[in-house]
Symmetry: C2
Subunit: 249 residues, 2 copies
């Protein structure tokens, strides 16, 4: 049916895997594997064919849309099935640990690029053009540049080429703060929805965008980013200061 | 020049007073007084005539656009100059204390309505139609209903008619949380502006909307709202819980 397009193996067909398949399916014949999904033609939502792990892992390009905490086990599982010069790309919210794991566990010859799409099923639900993605070189700059060019031209994304370290330092603030604040505000719910201000509305829009993120995304941001603890401590130290001065003017 | 319009006295010609004058000047001949401004035709920005306190206070309608903490002194200052059946309206961010002060300090016969425009110079800079205002009955419901109808029809605002207590309870959450979070995030600046997510962008838009609020607005929200301390304590208690669980998953 779609035999003219190059095959792309997609490991993980959760909410983000499905978003990935939807946007890559115009360019690739997507063979998706998810341990929770049954292989067959019915489950791919018209944008992918569900298949077994070995078939998906044998494609020339393999995208790993699995939780960061499941990455190592996934790398070990796909390793025997990878083509000698396969291009493996992850999409995790942190980059230092996944880059190290991919480099340590994947055979020499396999090409590796780290990416972090700075959007999710919620913020990307009305289209992803104009949204942001970070692209990290892991093994050689040439593949990273090709992936970056594809993201820019084919997907219309704003691409940031950064090292895994620079990515994690910046993401620790951006995602760490958003998730911390969302976590506290969600715990305060129900919150007013009627007599609100424009700034409060913005705050709640921010919460709504991460409210359905999986617990694994929260864990990746809070535990697997080496700079997360530092940002968190700074936030709480400043909150304590604000606690001390609020009410005193 | 504008002799056909009814006169409206505006006490306070700061950022919010000027916003008020801009939107009321099509309907009223505005005589504004601000202790920091020099009377004369030059300083009214084309939407008001700057004048002395006595002249502004003698208008049939008097709007008090002064900081909540300056309200009592303002009431005492204007009292001798008010017309016997003047309509006095405040615009403070809290309503319980101002309503009590106006009722206690203004002569019998003077009509009083409390309002809280749920916007400021920042969120209202591109127009105020569609934004929200709370209207509180202080002395008699008829004047509050007239003010509400004017806000709805002439200014296009969404009007919430509430008691001062209900207003302050809800505002303590809406404004208290926004200002607390903005205070902590501003203390963390400089924050990333490049590799951001849509939810982080919303968070920073919320901060930008209150970043230039005067310290007096912060003080009114944090000190003069009887429910503020409760909301603040709840936020910090839940933040402490998040602090304990973050990083554990």
């Amino acid at each position: 049916m779609t035999g003219e397009k190059e095959k792309l193996g997609l490991i993980g067909f959760g909410a983000f895997g499905r978003l990935t398949a939807r946007h890559l399916s115009p360019w690739f014949d997507i063979l998706a594997h998810d341990p929770a999904a049954t292989p067959g033609f019915g489950g791919g939502e018209g944008v992918a064919t569900l298949t077994d792990l070995a078939t998906a892992a044998a494609c020339p390009t393999v995208v790993l849309a699995v939780p960061v905490e499941a990455l190592e086990a996934t790398l070990i599982a796909i390793r025997p099935h990878l083509a000698p010069a396969a291009l493996v790309i992850d999409v995790g919210s942190v980059k230092v640990k996944p880059a190290q794991a991919m480099d340590a566990l994947l055979p020499h010859g396999v090409r590796i690029v780290g990416t972090h799409p700075l959007f999710g099923p919620q913020s990307g639900k009305d289209g992803i053009a104009g949204l942001r993605i970070a692209v990290c070189e892991v093994r050689g700059g040439k593949d990273a540049r090709r992936v970056a060019a594809f993201c820019r031209r084919a997907l219309g994304l704003k691409v940031f080429s950064v090292s895994p370290e620079d990515h994690d330092r910046e993401a620790a603030t951006v995602q760490g703060l958003t998730h911390l604040i969302a976590r506290v505000l969600m715990a305060m719910e129900p919150l007013p929805t009627r007599m609100t201000t424009a700034s409060f509305d913005r705050l709640m829009q921010a919460v709504d965008m991460v409210r359905h993120d999986s617990p694994a995304v929260f864990r990746a941001i809070e535990r697997d980013n080496p700079f997360a603890a530092e940002v968190r401590e700074r936030f709480f130290a400043l909150a304590d200061q604000a606690r001390g001065t609020a009410g005193e003017g």
